[in-house]
Amino acid sequence: MTTYVYRDAAGLAETARWALYADSLVCAAAVAIALVQGPWALLYGDLAAAFGIVQLVTAVGSLILFLLWFYRANANVRAMGADGLTGSPGLSVAWFFIPIVFLFMPFVVMRDTWKASASPRDWQGQPTAPLIGFWWAAMLATHLAASFSFRLWLSGDYDVVEAVGVLDLISHSAGILANLLSVALMMRIQRLQVSPAHLSETFR
């Protein structure tokens, strides 16, 4: 049986928080450009390539930092004494990338991490926070809209540009919401987690 060591994730959470804010800002700029100049601006405008690179960097960067924090948070609840959790911290992150399974497992592992942070020894009896459902709905909307948009864009037809623009607008708007909900979720879990050295008997 693997033994997990509690490591404070406050610094990681803070870094991920600013990365998510940066990505939200870029998404907001994308929404503003699309609304002012039309959906074509982000696809074929003068700044399309440069803006695309900035978007890619902030999106991937914030996702990596968020998942690094989540790995640590999931390992910490195990160190705090939670048992019966699904898989390992590594698998909890891997679920985000496995086809089909990514539609529901990230919600499950995030829900369980929240519950186990609130009460490590009896986490299954904890209620599910509605914030997790809203977070996952926003994440799914963001990624599904982006995925459909990308597939349409790959088709190369000129008459789908408007649909691609609308889907991008939905993806960016939902992305801002998803990022802000990710920050809220991360900060709430951070506040709930306590080093095992400081866990009182009543908390257990």
Binding site: L85, T86, P99, I100, G125
Partner: protein, 157 residues
């Protein structure tokens, strides 16, 4: 994926539904000897084991979790009764998906030009699903057998 044991007393067992071979509980609440509680939510239990999960039953309870699927695979009570059971539906489902989708992909490759992405993804997912549930079952069996002959201490008078 994960097996563990709980030593304590069943305080509450809220049954959601009972089928011919297995029962699903909304929650099973255990009171541990130190006074703390442990809840096992949405627990799947084979009926041989479920029959012993009545409030007041004291003993060692063998738990498992695999993906979002949790349950009690065995119990040894302080009065000497014991039962073990582990459903294999998900294990067979994973194997079935893997075999059928692999055959479909092979047929598509040999008879048609293209391959269905969905069939390919399901074939790739079916195998780990089968292996994961199989391993969890083997771990649960091993944990229960390792304790053979164990008799939980009776409740203090």
């Amino acid at each position: 994926m994960a097996t563990s044991t709980i030593d304590g007393t069943v305080e509450e067992a809220v049954l959601r539904r009972r089928r011919p071979k297995m029962s699903v509980y909304d929650r099973i609440l255990f009171r541990l000897d130190d006074g703390s509680t442990r809840t096992w939510a949405k627990a799947v239990v084979m009926n041989d084991v479920a029959d012993l999960l009545t409030p007041g039953t004291r003993g060692r309870f063998y738990t498992f979790s695999a993906i979002d699927h949790r349950g009690i695979s065995g119990v040894r009570t302080d009065d000497g009764r014991e039962a073990f059971g582990f459903g294999r539906v998900n294990e067979y489902a994973g194997l079935g998906v893997f075999i059928s989708m692999t055959l479909l992909v092979i047929l598509q490759m040999s008879l048609l030009d293209g391959v269905s992405v969905w069939a390919l993804v399901l074939a790739v997912l079916g195998l780990p699903l089968f292996l994961l549930y199989r391993q969890t079952r083997l771990d649960a069996e091993k944990a229960f057998k390792a304790d053979a002959g164990f008799r939980p201490a009776a409740r203090a008078a």
